[in-house]
Structure formats: C-alpha cells, structure tokens
Symmetry: C2
Subunit: 292 residues, 2 copies
C-alpha cells in the first residue's frame, strides 16, 4: 500500500456497521507484489466474488452472496502495509495519475456509478445533497457530465471546492429543511450519510423524478415513505462503480479531486487520523503508508 483514504463507511464500521472485525480501509493505491502486475502501481475493486455462483454467472459479481469486501466484509483492508486481493480486481494506474489522485479511484468510481444508473442530459437540473467526501465527488462527476448541479451542504469551504468545478453552491443551516425556493429536481442525489436527510431529499424530487441514494446508515429514516408513492418517485440505490471511467477522468484531468485532501497521517497515527476524519468539516484524510 502506498496511500489509503478514510471513507464515511470506515467511520460507520467503527460504530458497528456490518459487524466487521479486522483491518478496515478500502480506498488505496499500491504496488503489486506478485502476478501479472508485479512491480506496477495498481488500484483494486473491493468486492472479491466467488465467480462461480449464479449471481456471478449473471455478471453481478459485486453482489456475489459469497463475496468478501476489502476492509468491510471478511477481508482485511487497506489501512496496513500490505493487503491481498484477487488479481482480477486490480487495475494498473496510468503514469499520468499521481498517487494522490489514484487513491480517489474507488470513491470516484462510486460517484461515476450514478451515470451507469441514470441518464443525465445536458443542463439537467440536479441536486446533490451532502458536502462530505462522496457528495463532493458526486457533484464534480455530475457537473462534468453536463448536469446543472446545485450542491447543498453545510460547509462553505467544501462547497467552494465544487463551486470551482462548476456546481452552484447552496449553503444550508444545520437541522433546517431546504428552503422552498430550492424548487424540485428531476434528479436528486442523497450523499449526506444522514438518515434524517432522506425526507428532505424526497421533498426535492419532482413527480416521476429519481433519487439516487448513496447514504448507507444503520438508522431508519425519520420520515414517511408516502411521498415516493404519491409523487411516483424512483429511488435507486447506488454503491460501487466500475473503475475505468474514474481512471479515465483522472488521467485526462477532467476531474481533480486533490482539493478534497484535508490531512495526511502515517499508519502509526491511525487514532489521530480517524479523529480528524470524524471532525466536523473534515474532507479526505489520507494515510501516507509508503513511497515508491
């Protein structure tokens, strides 16, 4: 492992999500020790499928019921000097992509997954709720795809980063609903990580519109699902994505996630790193594990 990033899921895992015990971490760039990519920089898809069951045969390896998931389910993760993944999971990193950029491939791929799940037409009014790490990447990817993105969050510094990338910032007051003047959108992304935000996200979806759900939390939502039925809304759960579009966007410079880097820690200071990642206003915290 060269570098690894702390993700909101890692923080949820520390609070018991998935009941995971072991080494957390699933965002990384490293150097392959063996196999066809030996000696090359690689990033790795985090779901290790059995590739034999019915689900895998149908091309749904990410949903293999026998899968392990790096740092999340039955497989030690990336906050370590070494990790193990099947060779089929690895992607070599082009020279044009720095280590600092490559460590974003996994979360950036998760943001690009939205484009696999819904069609975005140029100028499409789109609301991204949540200015955490994933919310910012979603706002960047959707802006880059041509959507007219309103990015709603509580931290002006974070919104300034996506604003520089072309999104329109909407600063929210803590605990307050979206202002009525925000209007309704055919496409809304909930990347808040907050169960209570789901109701606000729903209210912002126009009838027959679509809500992409990125938030994973153990808490049930605090509001009724009735608006889904009344307004015939579709909710689309969105998790991991293919690495290719993310590597391509980084390689071509279309997306630059570097402004999201907020702090760097050695592995020895893991507790301090996690504390920094938990602090309000924190963006991406990286572990600098090794240099080539």
């Amino acid at each position: 492992v060269l570098k690894a990033g702390i993700c909101a899921t890692d923080l949820e895992i520390l609070r018991g999500y998935m009941g995971f015990e072991g080494v957390p971490g699933h965002e990384f760039v490293g150097v392959a020790e063996s196999g066809s990519f030996a000696g090359r920089r690689v990033v790795g898809e985090i779901n290790a499928a059995c590739r034999a069951c019915d689900t895998c045969q149908r091309g749904l390896e990410r949903h293999c019921p026998h899968r392990t998931v790096l740092g999340i389910l039955g497989r030690d993760g990336a906050f370590a000097e070494f990790l193990a993944l099947p060779e089929a999971n690895l992607h070599p990193v082009p020279d044009a992509v720095s280590d600092d950029h490559a460590v974003f491939v996994e979360p950036l791929a998760a943001a690009f997954a939205i484009l696999e799940q819904t069609s975005v037409v140029p100028g499409m009014p789109t609301l991204v709720l949540g200015d955490g790490r994933l919310g910012c990447l979603c706002a960047m990817v959707l802006t880059n795809a041509g959507a007219s993105v309103v990015h709603a969050g509580r931290n002006p510094n974070k919104l300034a980063i996506t604003s520089a990338a072309g999104a329109k910032p909407l600063l929210l007051e803590r605990g307050k609903k979206l202002p009525k003047s925000t209007g309704k959108f055919p496409l809304v992304v909930d990347a808040t990580g907050d169960a209570a935000a789901f109701g606000h996200a729903l209210e912002a979806v126009e009838p027959r519109g679509r809500l992409i759900l990125k938030t994973t939390t153990n808490d049930p939502p605090t509001s009724s699902l009735a608006p889904i039925v009344i307004d015939e809304i579709s909710i689309v759960g969105s998790r991991c994505g293919r690495f290719e579009p993310a590597l391509d966007a980084l390689s071509s410079g279309r997306i630059d996630p570097a402004p999201l880097i907020h702090g760097r820690f050695p592995l020895e200071d893991a507790a301090a790193a996690f504390e920094a990642a938990t602090r309000r206003g924190a963006l991406k915290i990286l572990f600098d594990v090794a240099t080539r």
Copy 2:
C-alpha cells in the same frame, strides 16, 4: 353514484392522512347527469388537474400541483348520492361490465399501473406482500400478466382468492419475517399498508432488483434503507393508473374481482360500513347507493 368502495386510503384519511375534511370516497361507478356522457354509466379518474400548468403540459396531470383529488384533496368524494368531476376524467363503462365489477376500476387501474412502470417477462418470479384489497388485485394483475407470483399474507381466505386466480399462496405468521426459504425475487410489490413491512420487502428483493411501493402511510419505516444501497435496489413508487387496461380486463373477463366483495351497506350505515372495512380480514366493502 350507483356503488362506491371503501379503500385503505379512506381508512388512513379517517386517521388524519392528508388532513382531508369533507366527503371521502374515490372508488365509484355512477351515471353521468350532464355532459357528453349524460345518462350513461361512468367511472372517473380521481385526479382533477388544472390542465394549464407546466406539470400538466408535460403530460403529468396526475401530479398537477393545483389538482384536487376526489375524496382525498380539496374535492368531496363518492360516499354520497352525487359527486362532481370534470368530464375529461370520465370513462363510459361497457355493458359487459357489471356495477359490481365497475366499482373496482379505480383500484384495479392502480394495480395495472405496475405494468406501466416495470416490464414483466413471462414466468418472472414475483412476490406480492400484503393480502389486503390492493394486494389481492396486484397479485391478480401480475399473475394475469404472466409473472410467477408468490402472494404473501396473513389471511388464508384472502390468499385462497388469488390462489384460484393462479398465484402461489404464502401464509405468514403475524409479526414474523418472511421465512428464509422464500428466497429473493427480481420483482417485489409492497402493498401491505404497513410501514414495518418495508424492511421485510427489501430483504426479499434480489440485488439490482425492483421493489414496487404501493403502501402509503404516515409512519416512517422501522428499518434502515442501507440494503437499497448495498444491493443496488430500485424502489418505484406506484399510485394511480390509467383506467383503460382495467376496463379492458374486466370487459374481457380476464380478471374477476367479485370474490373480493365482502359486504354491502347503504349510505345511511356508513359508520357500520367503515367499522366492517377496518375489521381484520375484511376485504372490499361496498356502498350500494342506487340502482339504475
């Protein structure tokens, strides 16, 4: 009004849903007093749109923000001798369709809405949760569309009705989860009317599968939405449907809802009728208002 039916939404409205005050009731067959259909039997779409705003211009009249809804929002409903609806909402009832059948057009159209929202391939494993009035109609419509339907509910008498129509019954114990052996389905319909059932419905959807949500309740769900994200599930809210396929299915005899009729009351006995509709195991309660 010749006949009117009591729907789960009417019972929710009595408990405060939508804050409606006025005459409830939105399932009816009647005789037009005036206009092009004067003297003919008609059924009526319940959403009365302004037909002028942007939403209406886009063909989404059912979602017109200025709409009234028969017996639900700003417009007195069908539990009366007369009701008023715009002529554009009315559909003449073919002679082949009896009054008892015609009163089911509105809820049957809501069940047919599923076929507008998702494609059903022959033999597609489908789970319908809930053996209330709408759940039974959904099971009938999906079976008739060629799906291989498992109909899960708590009332053996109700399940016997849809079983006769070709669904496979699954009797559930009250408050118990679906048995593990039920398996996972690419298509699940939640028509339970119970916020607590949403989590059970989610668990029965296979990865990348689809959950059609028919349940409208003011209560928030009791379980986390995380499985939507982890299994990349789509939730599709489903409300009203076009009347044409329902009238066609009744006219051709492909669907026979008559076994769902559970009791008949005159308007004068409204309190007893509502009490009967609320009783556990109740199916469709009709008001016999007039005869031709």
